[in-house]
Symmetry: C2
Subunit: 218 residues, 2 copies
Amino acid sequence: MPRPASQDLTSAQERVARALADFERAERPGFIADLLKALRLAAESSLTPTLQKMARNGFVDILGGGAQGRSRVVRLTVKGRHALGIGGLPLLGSIPAGPLSEAVAQAAEIIEPGALLPHRPGDFLLRVRGESMIGDAILDGDLVLLRPGVAVPHKAIAAVCVGDDREGTLKRVFYENGGERVRLRASNPLFKDMTVAAERVHFAGLLKGVLRHVGSRK
Amino acid sequence: MPRPASQDLTSAQERVARALADFERAERPGFIADLLKALRLAAESSLTPTLQKMARNGFVDILGGGAQGRSRVVRLTVKGRHALGIGGLPLLGSIPAGPLSEAVAQAAEIIEPGALLPHRPGDFLLRVRGESMIGDAILDGDLVLLRPGVAVPHKAIAAVCVGDDREGTLKRVFYENGGERVRLRASNPLFKDMTVAAERVHFAGLLKGVLRHVGSRK
DNA sequence: TATTGAGTCGTGTTATTTCACGATGCAATG
DNA sequence: CATTGCATCGTGAAATAACACGACTCAATA
């Protein structure tokens, strides 16, 4: 076997990385002591040099430490997870024709689950009821990500409440008369436009994303 | 101020929780020593009782420890993040009419970012090109979550490759002649159906989800 | 007013960890 | 065959963290 390049993991490094992946799956921090047990290593000094090499190559982060007695915690980086072929969702350029692992290696991007739908604090989800936005490819049962407290641009889709209406609906927003009046349009042609005074309209949130589960979950 | 119920955080507990949230945002593990510094507490014994109460009430997890010299790492639980009103996306029952915090408190569910689109190892994303699935509310530029290696049910949508075609497309799949032939239908009526022998069809993945970003990301 | 509990601080003990050093076996390379 | 790098193991010393204890303040209650 040729000596692996610094982009790859040596066999021992891969063993360490897999153990770290197990820790991550169990949502446990990667304490050195636990890692030692999982790898059945006798002494901490058997692990540290390997770990330091992995950290130098960017496969893991070593947090804490720096002084004697101060515990370290090891974590896989995105690069480390990628090197194992796990974690994150590969965003492929085209439908994979050959073996999957090959396609994953060519993945244009690896997207972490948490980054799938970028959101800020304050954002919220709403489950869409009814077919009123079917023309904008939003179906009954879809989840929509809404952002309150931001300006709703002309022609954008937002969750709006009119007057004392508590329920509210998704509508495409058009400003008319220099902003005095607001036209609300459902994208289903069966629904008619509604035009109301701007002060009677309350924007609950601007549409930032759409999410749909197909088939049974998981 | 009345003594808070065990479901709420006392002021000191909230301070600790906010510090932990900061750590989480910075993707740093919650070492006791770092926590002490962030809270400007003089001694570790000032923090431990508070932490233990929070752990008993399910706001934080204390990992590690158990023996002298073995470091602990503290992490906010989902309940803890919820108590701070941060983290996770609240799935609301209806559009919030009043103040947002009230609506969030009534949230039917708090969804962690990683659980938004449930996926298994091996799943991958593909960016949809073209308007061929517009009738199924999948637009140009949407991301679709595909699961390879599972059976494609009748009438389900899947990424398919026919023959030597490498590109592949999203199609709705119908089995005919007892499974001998497969009819592939784009949901855009401008595209015609295609019927091919089952052995010439390769399913790259079964559609499990659709994801759309609206407007600029972030 | 007395009581209760939370939060804070300090001290001492003890177990554990990190760190630094050297030594060995092994595989692949030149 | 000698060299190089990796992985493993052992030892010793220094430093630190957890743990347990008691004491104090402060607020809200009964």
